[in-house]
């Protein structure tokens, strides 16, 4: 298995773990009282912002650890540039990821049209963000293994 395949798998697993653990950490902090109180909006706002920061930092840390482990185990240096195949696969991954997020966004807006509570809209948005991240990594893994 090549560097890019391993990196896609690590990225996929880390995305799932980061989101899973973050949700478990934030769930007990959900404010009581009215579902549409200012505290609830503050909770959802901070949920998204902190998740973004935590996710970026965790991905960078995991990527550094992965590169160190890769070098130690294979005695190979990781590629330090993206060639035409990498760019093509990145574009396909971004296309699929973006498509999933847009579908999620539209579903979230649709939930407002059918009078669902606001927290349903936030949940759909956040889950679609997570699924789009996973879709991006899974697309990369698929194309690195099966070709373009």
């Amino acid at each position: 298995m090549t560097y890019q395949e391993k990196k896609s798998i690590v990225s996929l697993i880390s995305a799932i773990l980061i989101f899973g653990f973050y949700c478990l950490y934030m769930y007990p902090q959900y404010p009581g009282g009215g579902l549409e109180s200012p505290e609830a909006f503050r909770f959802w706002g901070s949920f998204v912002l902190i998740l973004t920061v935590v996710s970026i930092v965790a991905h960078i840390v995991i990527s550094i650890i992965f590169n160190i482990v890769f070098r130690m185990t294979t005695r190979e240096k990781e590629p330090n540039f993206a060639d035409e195949l990498d760019k093509l696969i990145d574009l396909k991954a971004f296309r699929n990821s973006f498509f999933v997020f847009v579908v999620g966004f539209l579903l979230a807006m649709g939930s407002l049209i059918i009078y669902q509570p606001l927290h349903v809209m936030f949940m759909i948005l956040i889950i679609s963000g997570f699924i789009s991240d996973v879709t991006g990594s899974a697309t990369k893994l698929y194309h690195y293994r099966r070709g373009v």
Partner: protein, 74 residues
């Protein structure tokens, strides 16, 4: 994913050029080893520019490295 119609003799040519490794060829033409692996497996059709760079690396014309459809040497 269906196989690409553009085939190549890269694996054979590497062997005939002092058993050049995939990494050595990748360094010579400016791509990652993963791309050479994908080309040899027939999982990727290279850009025209990369195809020419690979042909130049073997000092051969393009049509002796790449073919379209069935392998003419078979």
């Amino acid at each position: 994913m269906s196989k690409n119609l553009v085939g190549n003799h890269i694996r054979k040519l590497r062997f005939n050029h002092n058993e050049m490794t995939q990494q050595q060829l990748a360094d010579k033409v400016g791509v990652t080893r993963q791309t050479i692996v994908a080309l040899e497996k027939g999982n990727y059709s290279p850009s025209l520019e990369l195809a020419f760079r690979i042909a130049h690396a073997f000092h051969l014309p393009l049509e002796e490295v790449f073919f379209y459809g069935d392998d003419p040497t078979q």
